[in-house]
Amino acid sequence: MLRHPIPTLPRAAALCDLATEPALIPERLDPALRSALASRLATVAPGRGAGPLRLDSWTVLNGQRGPRAELGAFTWSPRAARRLLGVAAARRVVLGQEPSPTVAARREVDWLIARSAAGDGRPGSLGAWLAEAPRGVLGAVLAEAISHATELVSLLPWEQLGQRAIVGGADPVWAVPGAPWISLRGRRDAEISLDHEHGTRALLCLRAGRPGSSARHDLAIVALSDALARPDRPLPTRVLGVWPSAGKAVSLEVGAEEIKGAARLVVDAACRLRQPDGLALVA
């Protein structure tokens, strides 16, 4: 089921009300679905020889649409680094470590470059790319990161949520049992605990552009990834998608049907990626 925040100002308060609405009955992921999904993915996805296959909403939904060759191989760019740096910068601001997204993004970039210089980063990592980047590229990278961080920091009254909210942190990742070169990642920017005792939670995803017809599937795949990656917890209660460029927000109230539908999409995408023209998605 999709729900929308009440269209009143301040928007952060309306979104917060929707995000923190208590969970009614915590649902758990069906163990049969977990094992069936693992088995299907191990069977239909490209083999180990094709290298690691990292699936997320973007690769799954774009993999549905057309030949893989159109998607191109991954390279770092200011847009590609936007979310990673922006979320890390927003986290610094929300934790009170830095006064503003601008200062926090600069600090995050400096930290990554220093880590790379110390030999902590692997070749091809964001830090390694930033360390080699000319000044103009760093300016563009920072500009994107600052915009993302500002959107995230302005989205909810974080100080009011206190320790219930976690901005950033690692995305939930599920490595397929029996085929660990295949993994499913949920791209989410923040998490809000609804009931600590029962482990119920809301996930928050910032997305670019405006919501399209696949927005619901995008959010469902995030919910599925999170449920698979955290078998000790119930399903996430809801996944909020926010499109700051369009001023739109929507909440997917997660249930068994949404999870099943997302699992079907993931398997379909893995099948498609097995086709010979599809290796560009493997990054």
Binding site: T102, P134, T150
Partner: protein, 261 residues
Amino acid sequence: METAVAAKDLVLALRGERAARPRVDPTLAGGLRAWLEDDLALSVADVAPSAPLFLSPRTIIEGASQGSTPTLALARGALVSALVAQRLSLGDVEHPMDDALSALEADPSQRELVSSIHQLDPDGFARLAAEVAAHDTVLAHSLGAIPSSWLPRTNVRLSVPLVGGRVVLGAVVNVMLGPPASTVSTVCLLDVTTAELTDTVQARLGVLALIEALRSAAPPLRVATLSTATGDVAMLDVDDALLTTALRHVVTAADQHQGAN
């Protein structure tokens, strides 16, 4: 109301006095959206949401018939936009052309434009580099150091769907300042152009203000355009009259576009 302002006072004038900021009418944006959707519904009834009608401040005010912008002007605009981003994120620019070009080279969506810049003969490239440096001098003079507490962000993309996605109002704002509005207007928009200001600048700013009002549910406080060609600035306080005039421009542009097809 247009305000005459010197370029060096631009950012201060945009933000204005905190105590003088107008209260947000919480029903205004919803009313504007409903009015716009009603007036657009008939003219875009045949448009499929999968292939929406895209309208920007430029196409709304000057029409699609203005023809395409010459590649060199596009290149200059993109390079100067990159410098705006760099000035606000890093605080300074050392080598305008090198910095701006490397920023474009890192952006896969600018591949064609970058290729056309690299294809310039040495004299053409030197002329473009000198122009970009001159535009950057105006930027340095006008933008100065903006406090990070004003939440400056650059090249912000706006994309507002209307009438079930049949129409999309889009814009890229070079500089946005201020937190999202709650009780008073707080957001300021600055558009940077490498061309001279023309008599359509007010109308274009009005449309930009309307798009932001629809996106954020609150009208921006002020909108301005800086010409890096001349250093001229046009700045407007956003009020109901500006927004309703812009709304009529949008409806007219959609009607004309659909009439032409």
